[in-house]
Symmetry: C2
Subunit: 212 residues, 2 copies
């Protein structure tokens, strides 16, 4: 079950709350970027950031020089992952909506210092972005490891919100001669585009060309 703290309890649209840990994992595991929110000089800052999940830990990483990651280390953050699945076209403008799945996580990410745990975090981050590449591409060198900040955020305080299905119109509006329904939005991988300087004879590996 997911926790309900005052800030993860949905104030509105409670029927949209996901309640299982699996709902949370599903939203996180199909995402590529999260939006990392931090407070800098009293003001919010929201930055698209790579992430990876392993168990109940979310890993964040970036250059050791990145402002947002420096501000996130040990401080309260909010991490949000959102998928848009379609536009909900209602009979009234007021009831227009979006079908989506989103996860919001609150906590204090801790910088990882040990080499083994940092590598474990980078493995999760790489596999989230590009499954199969950790075992295929060159692994990080000690110098590269030192230049990368890896933070670990617990998934303890999290909420999931999901909207699915057709519009919910006002009773009277169902009489209107207005088309209503959902316009689905899908994402799909295109054909891999080789680096222009890639030598001939290096085939695209199946974990890239066959990605689902």
């Amino acid at each position: 079950m997911l926790s309900t703290t005052p800030r993860t309890r949905l104030g509105r649209e409670k029927q949209r709350a996901g309640t299982d840990r699996q709902d949370l994992y599903d939203v996180l595991d199909t995402g590529l970027f999260c939006h990392l929110g931090v407070v800098v000089d009293g003001c919010p800052m929201v930055v698209p950031t790579g992430y990876g999940r392993a168990g109940d830990t979310l890993y964040l990483h970036g250059s050791t020089g990145a402002r947002s990651l420096r501000a996130a280390a040990g401080a309260e953050v909010c991490v949000t992952v959102t998928h848009v699945d379609g536009i909900v076209l209602a009979r009234s403008v007021f009831h227009h909506s979006v079908n989506y799945r989103s996860a919001i996580i609150y906590g204090r990410p801790e910088p990882l210092t040990g080499e083994e745990e940092r590598l474990e975090g980078l493995r999760a981050l790489t596999e989230q972005l590009a499954p199969g590449q950790w075992d295929y591409a060159r692994r990080p060198s000690p110098k590269e490891l030192a230049a990368t900040a890896v933070l670990a955020l617990s998934l303890e305080e999290a909420s999931v919100k999901i909207r699915r299905g057709p519009p919910q119109d006002d009773e009277a509006d169902y009489e209107l001669p207005v088309w209503a329904g959902v316009l689905p939005l899908r994402t799909a991988w295109g054909a891999p585009v080789p680096d222009p300087v890639l030598p001939e004879g290096i085939d695209v590996p199946v974990h890239i060309s066959g990605r689902e």
Copy 2:
């Protein structure tokens, strides 16, 4: 030209900065959700939120009861819109990246109070989500207008960041027998799904079925 204030000047990867207002408009006009960052009780909160652009104003809206919108009114916020265009597969794990376009806007959104300006904001919000629907669906009633908070945020303080193209690997790694390139990610509209209770004989309008 876009402003450069201390917080919109890119600290890193300066070559990724968009410098034209048109870059900003392009990123905003092709998005459906923004991520709205506010500070609540000293902690960041990041919520996926509908938006619309008209000129150099970004409109945000939601229920008058929504925590994030209440916290945003007249306070410092950060609004981020991100498009993921592809995964950049490098020869080393370290140089893996994402092709993306993102816009970050800082400012203090002001609640709109006049009926005319509120309707103008809702028109921009509706047309961003579903072009053509403002003139097709039923317009907001006075009661619906009263239940909707509409905020206006100036686009004065904004930055754009764009990454395109192949991986940039370390010189020595170009010798490796590793495939490198970009796996493009595309979004596409599916076929419209009618509301199950839609009466027969109401056709899908072209502005929905023909959306690009």
